[in-house]
């Protein structure tokens, strides 16, 4: 189905956020944080976060900043 991933259109067969992260190839211990449709999804809740068409997913990592 179509979703938005980090601001760009994407296609995925994943049904949960946890599945999406695994299918995208993120390392198991990856230091990332997630949000769906503007709302924070804690790591512990990724498995139960079901993805539906046109969901807006953000996957963020640490970066330099002022």
């Amino acid at each position: 189905m179509n979703i938005r991933l980090n601001g760009a259109p994407a296609q995925t067969g994943a049904t949960t956020l946890e599945e999406l992260i695994a299918m995208l190839g993120y390392h198991e211990d990856a230091k990332i944080a997630t949000a769906v449709n503007g709302d924070f999804v804690p790591t512990a809740k990724r498995a139960e976060q079901k993805l539906i068409a046109n969901d807006d997913v953000e996957i963020l990592a640490p970066r330099q900043g002022g």
Partner: protein
């Protein structure tokens, strides 16, 4: 010692981590500055970027951990309350800290704080247990509301972020210092030279946060040291008690015994 939310710190220099020519220079500069707090951000990262350790968030995170400094995540780029709140929540989980440098930005050219959004976000985040470091202006009304919202310190700008203009409105910053004598106040944004930082400290500010002025210096490591020295000097001068400026000259050399002096 300066104290932020119960954490006592020996260094009054907070450093940003962006725009350094290389990760190695960032590390060296932070060490040279003796800063104990660095700011970081959260940004989008694709899975494939993780293999390039140097550029990826994972590599950067390792570098920061090696420095052994306290991390202050920011909500840079957030233009709405919702964006700032979600970013803060993500930051809290990722960096394992309740500290958040709260930025809610009103304008892309000046990057000035959206004071309305800032106060609203500060209220919500403080209630949720965050320890908010609000990036604000010299507006005393906003300052009152931020403190009422639960902020225990304020971070007014010196000048627009990255502008290197120093203290654009020293009168207003002095007023703010006088209005909130017991609140930790940190000048954050727009610093360009060590003299700007020294001036803020001479005014009685508790600390200075800067990034670009060190990262974009010709030699960031030496500049980091220079800023640390300037902040120390400014603080010492403040504690020592600066003399009041005068309108007219007042001779320092004794007048009595001046040679060749005739009364008539």
């Amino acid at each position: 010692m300066v104290e932020f939310y119960g954490q006592k710190l020996g260094s009054r220099l907070l450093m940003g981590t962006a725009m350094y020519p290389s990760p190695e220079l960032l590390q060296k500069a932070v060490k040279a500055s003796k800063a104990q707090i660095v700011t970081v951000s959260l940004r989008r990262e694709a899975a494939r970027q993780q293999s390039a350790q140097q550029q990826s968030g994972q590599g950067f995170w390792e570098l920061i951990r090696e420095l052994g400094v306290r991390v202050l995540p920011n909500t840079a780029g957030c233009k709405s309350v919702k964006e700032a709140i979600t970013t803060a929540q993500m930051a809290r989980e990722m960096f394992e800290t309740a500290w958040i440098k709260l930025e809610v930005i009103a304008n892309d050219d000046t990057l000035q704080p959206d004071l309305f959004g800032l106060v609203e976000a500060a209220q919500i985040l403080s209630k949720d247990g965050f320890e908010v470091f609000p990036y604000t202006t010299e507006d005393l009304g906003a300052a009152d509301r931020l403190l009422e919202a639960g902020c225990k310190l304020l971070m007014p700008w010196g000048a627009p972020i990255g502008s290197a203009r120093g203290l654009n409105n020293p009168y207003a910053l002095e007023t703010m210092r006088n209005y909130f004598p017991d609140i930790p106040l940190v000048v954050d944004a727009g610093i360009g030279a060590p003299s700007h930082a020294a001036k803020a400290m001479e005014m009685g500010y508790d600390a200075v946060l800067l990034n670009t002025a060190i990262a974009k210096a010709g030699d960031p490591v030496i500049m980091a040291k220079a800023f640390a020295q300037a902040i120390d000097a400014g603080r010492a001068a403040f504690k020592a008690g600066l003399m009041e400026p005068r309108n007219m000259a007042s001779p320092s050399t004794p007048v009595a015994g001046t040679p060749f002096f005739k009364l008539d």
